[in-house]
């Protein structure tokens, strides 16, 4: 018997209400897939950071939620998509404490630390897509490069 497969979803990111709903939705998907509590908390926190960036820096957008499989592994993949100004200097944007917008500058770098896979694709003037994937595993979650 399989656990019910979390369906693919596309949610808008246009307001703080959307951020709150997205956090709830990601939490539910992660719980359904069997993620542990700490792994759920890290994933929801990363999603909150990236969705707020989509909203605040990207001028709004959407998130695509899919549940990829890799052999016997199942994962949760979130793509945050905007067609905002893009990021000119990615290394700088990924530096702890760097912000252009009055935040703490910990969102992008922190989200990258919190999840197993993190891919940032940005084109200045065209927009930004950040895709994160977390795979179901025992506790504690393996860190990228740790195996």
């Amino acid at each position: 018997m399989h656990a019910p497969l979390t369906p693919t979803a596309r949610l808008p990111i246009g307001s703080d209400a959307d951020l709150a709903w997205l956090r709830q939705h990601v939490r539910q998907c992660a719980a359904d897939l069997g993620f542990g509590l700490v792994q759920q908390t890290k994933l929801v926190t990363a999603a909150s950071e990236l969705a707020r960036n989509t909203l605040v820096h990207g001028g709004g957008g959407h998130v695509e939620i899919t549940t990829p499989t890799d052999g016997a592994r199942r994962g949760l993949r979130l793509s945050f998509v905007d067609s905002g100004p893009g990021i000119r200097d990615v290394d700088l944007a990924l530096t702890d404490g760097y912000t252009t917008g009055g935040g703490l500058g910990m969102g992008l770098s922190g989200a990258k630390r919190l999840v197993q896979d993190f891919v940032l694709d940005t084109r200045p003037g065209l927009g930004t897509t950040v895709t994160i994937t977390e795979w179901v595993s025992g506790f504690p979650a393996p860190r990228p490069g740790a195996r």
Binding site: P12, S15, D16, A17, D18, L19, A20, W21, R23, Q24, R27, L37, V38, Q40, T41, K42, V44, T45, S48, E49, R52, D96, G103, L104, M106, G107, S109, G110, A111, R113, L114
Partner: protein
């Protein structure tokens, strides 16, 4: 998007417990509600007829703290301190603490307690800088 039952857009109440202000955060907080809370707490401290003996923020019902809410909590504590009032974060969940550290947000300078009772005991042991008690 509106009307999702698990999400609470309402303002967060600030309760008076003797001379202590107690704020209980639950579930998911809208960004706007968090910003409103910062304003409400500082107003309550500044306008209180008797000196406020401290602020306790109960986080035991909070499932995630991201850098936005972390910044609001730090700013609440900083502005309360400028108004001669201590703030204690109480009851943070272990998963939230682990996540905050990995996020890179250790909130230095923020006083913490394992639960509200211990936070109240801390405030009563060391009264605010007016030296009351």
């Amino acid at each position: 998007m509106t009307d999702f039952p698990a999400v609470h857009p309402e303002p967060v109440p600030v309760l008076a417990l003797g001379d202590i202000l107690l704020v209980t955060l639950r579930g998911d907080l809208y960004d706007g509600a968090a910003e409103q809370l910062q304003y409400d707490i500082t107003q309550r401290i500044a306008n209180s007829p008797v000196p406020v003996g401290g602020v306790v923020i109960d986080l035991s019902g909070v499932e995630i703290v991201d850098s936005f809410l972390g910044r609001i909590l730090a700013e609440i504590a900083a502005s309360a301190r400028l108004l001669a009032t201590r703030t204690i974060l109480a009851g943070m969940r272990p998963a939230v603490a682990i996540t905050l550290v990995e996020l890179g947000l250790t909130l230095p300078g923020l006083a913490t307690a394992l639960d509200v009772d211990r936070a109240l005991a801390m405030l009563h042991r060391a009264p605010s800088v007016e030296g009351g008690a």
